[in-house]
Symmetry: C2
Subunit: 430 residues, 2 copies
């Protein structure tokens, strides 16, 4: 029995074009193996005249995307424009209001409006596929929703931003400063011209929030969470972390303990013996800790047309085969309880500290005394001349609480020996 | 709306007991989040008197498993006994014939009888969940079936046997000989008393065959495939591979090229820069290459009660929610075409060669001349005294075809300078 499914696609950039190409290439497989015919009954992009790498004339072009999605024969609306506001938002909400399934890669929109979209979808009896919104080609959302259904998840740890990971890898491998690696990322297409949100941690925050909502089934407010990115790191941090046996990765971490949710987004040190330390270049990765801390790790390409379009397509086909209730976050949004967020980290961990210090007698003593006053003990310390007047002091602490380290850092930064704000990073404990 | 599902469990060893404990622990989550009540309406194991880590008296014990599964109210039969023959096989076939869904962790049975089970399930309108049969806690089967639905998969590479991986890691980390690491694996519960099938590659073969059937949608005959394991490796192989920048891992590899399926099961050398090289101890891992060679990697625990029971439970809950046709291999078994298997590897690769050679003049010349005659060029060579009369010659070749290397190896093994069969391993190219 042949199943026909009619889709419209809004947004024809890298992911949109790849999705169309993938549907064209795999037409035969769909027909013969799945008994599925995917018909593209409308396309829209902001710029009609732009050259695309598929034949536009094969599809009905719409200048008005809302008119496009309102066609009676449309089953699924695919939104690949992106952005939490504007036309992308209108398309997503209108699709659901018009009782169409929605497939989207729009992480900013899901992070901000996911709960509202989910509620609307339940009211209208349609489903939302958003596999492509987190970690491009990694099927993390369906894994959480299907393979961990009814299992208690304790923690999600992810390398979720390909741009940041490319830059950190490049700084490590090529011994580049941040700005040079950023230029290289832009040149090679791994960074947008304006990649602030990738580098300051906001994009990672959006993604870990989406994953945490599914994993912990709580309603999490984006505004409650602090985050930081990699834009203040230097070649020296990469170098000293390496010397100590670590790689630096920008992580999003969500965890639940006694019903308290913790979300952290920051660069972390990861031992070179751990799996995540080898997740390099533009790769993404997610660790799921569940059921007495069993670890399951997924690694794959986090962005780009080919990997992301696979996730878009998986959503399109799965939605068309599923006739049971497919809740966006795995449970009805009535059951997503509001929760308080803690920005503190769970338990204790080692910390990396690098301070640029004036070359004066007593500098090291001043720093170590501050740490001693907070009962933070030192696992290893070394110093290295940076230039005539300055040197780097690098300390790896023994385990301590993040709160205590944060307070000690304020003291350190007020210390007259220190030239600029000390860099503090947590060592990942998995 | 509450959904009730009645299951029976045959087999109460590590996985069976963990499954019952997991269902008991998560009862509340099932009810509140999924609206699902899982009732265990019968249990069976070969030995009734054995002590178990759950309260047997809470459940109806059956001495006759076939009578147990034939109860009218049973929705799903969970088979966790294992083995391709005997009672496990009877239970699985009888379950389906009696129109019950089947959930099983039985890789040997699926590898031998999967096709017959699938056909029978289609005839009887029931589904088979076998997530737990490959790579314990890693949701690889649902990933292949759902997230790569309609996507062309080119290659599957897996570390699929936890016992072998534990031993290889132990030999590396502790500098142990094979037999000592095997003893340690047994002592720590990572190896059965008789673990021949784990060590000779057969278990890996079963698993890569199951994954390849789903990935390539072909009917593959187990008997057509050569395989080897780790039972002939020595400390010296681990040591020299390390010196060359590699780790040794037992891999199952399935690939498709021009409709020709290749299945390889053997120990491979993997560069320490690659993700798989850091998959250690009892961890398993699978790499999926699809859609123009995008790589997706999954890593997790491959065996043990807690991880495997998660997969069993995911199958139980997913089967009870799915009311559409859930083909065992993703497509109807009418569409699984018979295919010829090649044991050759695709393309060319580097090879590692270690030969134990008598300490006589001309030995190295003899070996290198044989390689030269086959146009195999040498990337690096070193020799090391093994004892008074013998030394190890270790060669890393440049790229060549496996077929040519195999023929050269026959010549080498006939060479009078060589004491025992040379060890040949391929370097993984991913």
């Amino acid at each position: 029995m042949l199943q026909n499914i009619n889709i419209v696609i809004a947004g024809l950039g890298t992911v949109g074009s790849s999705t169309i190409k993938l549907i064209e290439t795999n037409k035969k497989i769909f027909l013969s193996k799945l008994g599925l015919k995917i018909n593209i009954v409308g396309i829209f992009a902001k710029n009609k005249s732009k050259k695309r790498n598929f034949n536009k004339n094969k599809y009905a072009w719409f200048d008005n995307p809302l008119k496009m999605i309102k066609q009676n024969n449309v089953d699924t609306v695919v939104e690949l424009i992106g952005g939490e506001k504007g036309i992308a938002k209108d398309i997503c909400f209108q699709a659901i209001k018009n009782k169409k399934n929605l497939v989207t890669a729009n992480k900013a929109l899901i992070a901000h409006q996911g709960y509202n979209l989910a509620r609307l979808a339940e009211e209208n009896g349609v489903s939302i596929g958003f596999e492509a919104s987190v970690a491009g080609g990694i099927p993390i959302i369906s894994t959480l929703k299907k393979s961990f259904k009814g299992i208690k998840i304790n923690k999600i740890t992810g390398i979720l931003n390909g741009t940041s990971n490319f830059i950190l890898t490049n700084m490590y491998e090529k011994k580049n400063e941040f700005s040079k690696s950023l230029d290289e990322a832009k040149r090679l297409g791994y960074a947008e011209q304006n990649s602030n949100d990738d580098l300051n941690g906001l994009d990672t925050l959006h993604k870990i929030l989406i994953l945490s909502t599914i994993a912990f089934n709580k309603k999490i407010n984006l505004k409650d969470i602090n985050y930081s990115g990699i834009n203040y790191l230097t070649k020296a941090d990469i170098f000293f972390a390496d010397k100590l046996g670590f790689r630096i990765k920008l992580l999003g971490i969500g965890s639940i303990d006694k019903k308290k949710i913790r979300i952290n987004v920051a660069p972390y040190l990861i031992s070179k013996k751990k799996e995540l330390s080898n997740v390099n270049h533009n790769l993404n990765s997610v660790i799921i800790e569940a059921n007495k801390n069993n670890k399951t790790i997924l690694i794959g390409e986090g962005a780009g047309g080919d990997p992301t379009s696979m996730s878009v397509l998986a959503d399109i086909t799965n939605l068309s085969f599923e006739n049971y209730k497919n809740f966006m976050y795995g449970v009805s949004c009535k059951d997503l309880k509001k929760t308080n967020i803690s920005n503190d980290s769970l338990g204790e961990s080692l910390f990396f500290l690098r301070a640029k210090v004036y070359d004066k007698p007593g500098a090291i003593a001043a720093i170590t005394t501050i740490l001693k006053n907070f009962k933070i003990s030192i696992k290893s310390l070394f110093q290295e001349q940076s230039n005539k007047k300055l040197f780097n002091v690098v300390i790896l602490t023994h385990k301590c609480k993040k709160k205590i380290m944060d307070t000690a850092t304020v003291k350190l930064n007020n210390c007259s020996y220190i030239k600029e704000k000390a860099i503090i990073m947590q060592v990942l404990h998995v």
